[in-house]
């Protein structure tokens, strides 16, 4: 499902942090906010937000997901573009909220929200036309695109273009780049054996590619991959693409 058709920067955006970033990786959120503000766009972090509802949605508990999603629709009301530093959460808002609220009084609001939701790299490339001066040392970097960004949003090329714009970065390509890392939200906990096998293979591929850093649009995948790498001596650094861009462009403390 394509990104909203906005090609020049708005005056302000709403930032939907995602529950994972809120609780575990706030630096990724701050980096995303900082990148947008540095480009001259005002960022508002609506305090009423919590979680897109995907965990319950994927577990089959649609009523519970809807209740939480309704709160997000309220928190993100007002018509400003919404920027989400996660492919899977952006996918939830854009792709699945209309279905979740089909036949519901909030259906129109859900569709309106979906129509103004951007995943962060989509916003940075399509709307901000972001150019980043690379002030960092030479580095081999691998990109891991989440399945949501790849297949739900069709956003895989944005993160690649952002990396290509960094002069000191040598992009390395891991084998079977498009294969799922095995996170899948609750899948990692409900089917740990299969998930473990998948993330082990993903780490092998990333290590074999010689990556010193792994970046992604999605902290869920990063948590999975970095967690598996933590037990290995060949672990590259794993971070959200926003943090990486901020760091490479000499952004200071967040």
């Amino acid at each position: 499902m394509p990104a909203p058709a906005l090609t020049s920067p708005p005056e302000a955006v709403l930032f939907f942090g995602t529950c994972l970033i809120d609780l575990l990786y706030p630096q990724a959120g701050l980096a995303g906010i900082a990148l947008i503000r540095r480009a001259g766009v005002r960022v508002i972090y609506p305090p009423g937000q919590s979680c897109c509802g995907q965990p319950a949605w994927n577990a089959g508990y649609r009523d519970e997901a809807r209740r939480v999603a309704a709160q997000q629709i309220a928190a993100l009301a007002g018509g400003l573009p919404v920027v989400v530093p996660s492919g899977s959460c952006a996918g939830m808002l854009r792709r699945h909220y209309p279905a979740l609220f089909a036949g519901d009084p909030l259906e129109r609001d859900a569709k309106a929200l979906a129509a103004r939701t951007f995943e962060l790299t989509e916003f940075l490339v399509d709307v901000l036309h972001l150019r980043v001066d690379d002030l960092g040392p030479p580095l081999r970097v691998a990109v891991h695109t989440s399945c949501s960004a790849r297949r739900e949003l069709g956003a895989v090329d944005r993160i690649e273009r952002l990396l290509d714009g960094l002069g000191g970065v040598e992009k390395v390509e891991q084998e079977r780049k498009a294969e799922c890392c095995g996170f899948g939200g609750t899948f990692a906990v409900k089917q740990p054996a299969i998930s473990g096998a998948m993330v082990a293979d993903k780490c092998d591929a990333l290590a074999a590619a010689g990556a010193q850093v792994v970046v992604s649009q999605d902290c869920g995948c990063l948590m999975n991959i970095a967690g598996a790498f933590a037990r290995r001596p060949d672990a590259p650094r794993c971070l959200h693409v926003a943090e990486f861009l901020w760091e490479r462009s000499g952004g200071g403390a967040l």
Binding site: F15, G17, I21, D22, L23, L24, Y25, P26, G29, L30, I33, I44, Y45, P46, P47, Q49, S50, C51, G53, P55, A56, N58, A59, G60, Y61, R62, D63, E64, R67, V68, A70, Q71, C147, R151, E152, R176, A178, E179, C180, G182, F183, G184, G185, F187, A188, V189, K190, Q191, P192, A193, I194, S195, G196, A197, M198, A226, G227, A228, A230, R231
Partner: protein
Amino acid sequence: MAAPSELGGRIGRALGNAAARANIARAMYGLQKKRLLAFPDAAELERLRDAGEAIKRRAIARLPELLETLEASCARNGTQVHWAETAEDANRLVLDILQRHGARDLIKGKSMVSEEMGLNAALAAAGIEPIESDLGEFIIQIGGEGPSHIIAPAVHKSRFEVAALFREHFPDLPHGDEIESLCASARAILRRRFRAADAGLSGANFLVAETGTLVLVENEGNGRLSTTAPAVHIAVAGIEKVVERLADVPPLLRLLVRSATGQPITTYVNFISGPRKADEKDGPREVHLVLLDNGRSRLYADPELRESLRCIRCGACMNHCPVYVRLGGHAYGTVYPGPIGTVLEPARAGLGRLGELTEASTLCGACSEVCPVRIPLPSLIHRLRHDAVRTDGAGAAGSGARRRRLEALVWRAWAFVHARPAWYRLWTATATRLRALAPRRIAGWSDARATPRPATRSLHALARERGLDRE
């Protein structure tokens, strides 16, 4: 910790079988590459998928009418049509035909529907010998197994394992380990059976309503032999296999073969339209078509799940599934494995029995990306997950059967907190402040990964501190 379920046990064994995993992975990654080479033009592939999806959508939408047209066309060309609601009914129909002819054996071309029927066991119980003639099916038959893939049944075996099986069951024939030698042995063994078989069975890839034609694709020639040499030919097919016209076949054929094996076409494409005519010198004297329902009409009644009936059984979904690639088909414990199996089997058998299969997916979408007829497999798996725990009794068979009080309570509590900003902020404030008390181990997760811990301060708190939470 609770004992693993049956599915969990099979998954564990599959993941632990390094040899089978290597064989399967090599085969699947190879098939992925072959498919890409077979569809070099991405835009044309999409046009082809548009056409395939439209043809099947139309056929499924008009299914009852087309089945009647098929039946009438078959009547005109002498093909006898039978209707079976269940697998047992289908087996009984096949047995009736065979017993009427005094058949002692039945030589089979490849048919996944016959696996679905459990036909071989039913035949054996009635004293009729089923002979698998497709090389892959032949191998697993003598190995006492079921197929692990719908196109390549013996994909989990190495040639050394096949050679060992041949040596054990056919000690009189000389066997090397070379694949050519194994094929030559199979040819010799089965040639005798083709010649002498009393009856032959096939599936059908498409049933053409316009002309009453069974379309059958194959590479080996056993399909042709099974349906030409014996006096009786019985075809078994799901009701969803019908298409309206002969002209519908070429685009579907292009999609099917290239998606399945990467070939431009199979060695043989058979168009069978009736039994031997009066002035012909060979061919079966009788051709029977058994149309199998076995839960398909129930799927049909659900507009969302109905989409799965477009399936043309190419196997591309399982070839590209990261879970199937690591498990192989046997771990699923079903006739149809992989993503399509994960939709068809629980919907048919009921979510109480097979609902757990819907958990064995990350919903990554690799399957629907390659499905030639655009079945939205992740959405259907997702829909069945919901059916498994919903409380309104609607949806697939076994609706609500997997709802557990504890899990439902957890999600209710989760929703309570996350739907209320003040409660949510209290939760994150507590979790970050008490991060030292966060669990060091999370069941399942921590077996393979380091356990994450809450940050020192939430993004909410940091945003508020920076004044970002105000318009």
